[in-house]
């Protein structure tokens, strides 16, 4: 690393540090403070449980002014910790843009671990319990996890023993002996998926796209010649034929075939350019959403949806 680059890094680091200190100072000195989460306690009909719905800081201040010390709208410590942790993870992931670092790795590992656990829990409660155990032993599931299960949906269906056995066979690969047993359900999965996708692509894409390309080259709308409609259809038909010609290798790409293939390449390039443009748009949108989260939900520097407007009025009036 040259001295120039080191100096540049130092300057950049100092500037960003000053910016961060300034940002934090601005947030802490503002009358509303920084990110906190509030909840409204809503008793459920059974009288035993309480549901906590999101509330705003303004609602909290209003409730406190009406009845000091009330417990209906409260500061939610767990949700506030979650908010700050989300902000930390966002900044930690962003930090990779500068260079790989321990904060990025911590956030990355948390993401992987939480995702795996989330998928496992969801799969257990949303699939294995209702769709496997619930089909084979409905009474057990009804008494244990799903009291609402009744009627024809609660009847025993022994066909589901087959996927249960296949699932157990798939897990057999974890055993020290008999690993070949797992290959049978794997073969069923591969065969079923291949068949399902083949039908889907043949019907939805191959045949569907041929049908979608058979278009009138001269379009009349309301009895009058539609120039733009006709041009659009001509471009679609010519574009498809030229792109197909480009991928047609039984003839040498010379003469008419060569010219059509060249038009096909141009069509493909335009398509790639459009796809790149769309990708840029998507990535900027995602970056914008995270920046808005940091400035709005976390630092309370902006309030695009006006959720703290009432709080601002109350604080300015009553301090």
């Amino acid at each position: 690393m040259t001295a120039g680059v080191k100096r540049e890094t130092l300057i950049w680091g100092v500037v960003m540090l000053l910016g961060a200190v300034g940002l934090l100072g601005h947030a802490l000195s503002s009358p509303l403070g920084v990110g906190r989460e509030y909840v409204r306690a809503v008793p459920l009909a059974n009288g035993q449980w309480t549901q906590y719905d999101p509330a705003t800081y303004g609602e909290y201040l209003g409730a406190e002014r009406a009845q000091p010390g009330q417990q209906v709208v409260q500061l939610s410590v767990p949700r506030t910790i979650g908010l700050w942790f989300a902000a930390f993870c966002t900044l930690a992931i962003f930090s990779f843009l500068y260079a790989d670092n321990p904060f990025y790795r911590v956030a990355e590992h948390i993401f992987v671990g939480v995702s795996a656990a989330y998928w496992m829990v969801i799969a257990f409660w949303d699939v294995i319990v209702p769709n496997v155990i619930g089909k084979i032993w409905p009474g057990l599931v009804q008494g244990w996890a799903m009291p609402g299960l009744s009627g024809p949906e609660a009847e025993r269906n022994l066909v589901y023993v087959v996927p249960l056995v296949l699932g157990i066979m798939l897990l057999w690969r974890l055993m020290p002996v008999g690993g070949w047993i797992a290959r049978w359900p794997l073969a069923v999965i591969v065969g079923t998926t291949a068949g399902l996708r083949l039908i889907g692509f043949l019907h939805g894409d191959f045949l569907g796209q041929i049908r979608n390309t058979i278009l009138p080259l001269v379009v009349f709308t309301g009895g009058a010649f539609d120039f733009w409609g006709s041009l659009s259809n001509v471009i679609i038909v010519v574009g498809v034929l030229c792109c197909l010609t480009y991928f047609f290798f039984s003839f040498e790409h010379t003469g008419v075939v060569g010219k059509a293939a060249r038009v096909g390449i141009w069509m493909l390039m335009i398509t790639f350019g459009a796809a790149f443009g769309y990708t840029v748009m998507g990535r900027i949108a995602l970056l914008g959403a995270r920046i808005e989260f940091l400035l709005d939900n976390w630092l309370w520097l902006i309030d695009p949806t006006g959720k703290r407007a009432i709080a601002t009025v109350i604080v300015s009036l009553f301090g």
Binding site: A123, P130, G204, V280, G282, G288
Partner: protein, 318 residues
């Protein structure tokens, strides 16, 4: 703009200060410095290109005018022509990483369906999708449409694993997989599930999808084999070009990326927004200013990079 600069001078000062080293590098190194520019400067420029417009729009409340295109109009019309009480499937196949693009569409779709008093059947093919559905219900239906009752006007059927196989099943027999809703209530105890046995009974499928399984699978396994079904979709920018070939026969409306979301939001606001539209329903519109500045930056960088490439005296020798 002048008032904004006076009031928020500090962020402008931080912006200028953060770029001073770049200016110094460019002035001392000139063209050769540009050719070997550290890519992190580009990251920083993009950061500011997105942050400053967000800050400006949020501080002033000004959004860029949006003219809806034909696809957004077709999407809007598909929902608008339905009658109150018509059942619609809200298939939310996305997860938190893409909420920046998907949430504005989901919010606008649910708001539009609620304004039309359609019966909404939420489901997802993505494990975190159930949470996305809950978030949208909490954001739109509970605060702004308290008259709509869970189980009578909308229901969250939650997630089922199996990807396209789930579509293949529910399109003929919904209750084979969905015996309860996401809360564990038996479907026979949910009033709006009376008489609903398959997805074919839905008047429209509204799909918000950020990948696989998503819109492509709904087109392949639901709409193509059962042409009476109609579908509109909101998709990410990365995947949007894949769906254009399905329009209009297999896909009746498409919102591509945040631009599509903003156009659709504008149409919903024009029809249902009133004189003082709720900023909660303008998320896509707010994001168009950072899109504009970000795209100008990208275009500028592409032009500069090409000029540098074609004027590089060492180009021919490499």
């Amino acid at each position: 703009m002048g008032a904004f600069l006076r009031q928020e001078w500090w962020i402008v000062a931080v912006f200028i200060a953060s770029l001073l080293p770049l200016v110094h590098v460019l002035f001392t190194g000139r063209v050769s410095a540009l050719r070997s520019l550290d890519r992190r400067w580009i990251f920083l420029l993009m950061f500011w290109a997105v942050l400053l417009p967000i800050y400006y729009v949020s501080s002033t409340g000004n959004v860029l005018p949006e003219v809806p295109g034909a696809l957004a109009q077709a999407t809007f019309d598909e929902i608008e022509k339905l009658s109150p009480g018509d059942p619609v499937l809200m298939a939310f196949d996305y997860d938190p990483p893409t909420t920046g693009e998907m949430a504005p569409m989901a919010t606008a779709f649910v708001r539009h369906a609620a304004e039309k008093r359609l019966r909404m059947y939420f489901m997802t093919l993505w494990p975190p999708g159930a949470q996305m559905i809950d978030d949208t219900i909490a954001r739109v239906l509970k605060p702004d449409f308290p008259q709509l009752v869970y189980g009578r006007d909308y229901v969250n059927l939650g997630y089922k694993s199996g990807q396209e196989a789930v579509i293949k099943v529910v399109v003929t027999n919904l209750r084979e997989l969905y015996t309860t809703d996401v809360l564990g209530t038996g479907v026979q105890n949910i009033p709006m599930m009376d008489g609903i046995t398959s997805i074919q009974q839905m008047k429209l499928i509204i799909n918000v999808a950020s990948g696989t399984p998503g819109t492509k699978e709904w087109v392949q396994y639901a709409v193509t084999p059962y042409p009476n079904l109609r579908i509109v979709a909101g998709v990410t920018g990365v995947s949007a070009p894949l769906y254009y070939p399905y329009i209009p026969r297999q896909l009746n409306g498409l919102l591509g990326a945040i631009k599509g979301a903003a156009e659709y939001e504008q149409l919903v606001l024009n029809r249902y927004g009133g004189p003082n539209p709720n900023p909660k329903y303008m998320e896509g519109l707010r994001r168009m200013a950072p899109q504009l500045v970000g795209h100008l930056l990208i275009i500028g960088l592409i032009i500069v990079a090409n000029v540098l490439y074609f004027t590089d005296p060492a180009r021919g020798r490499r």
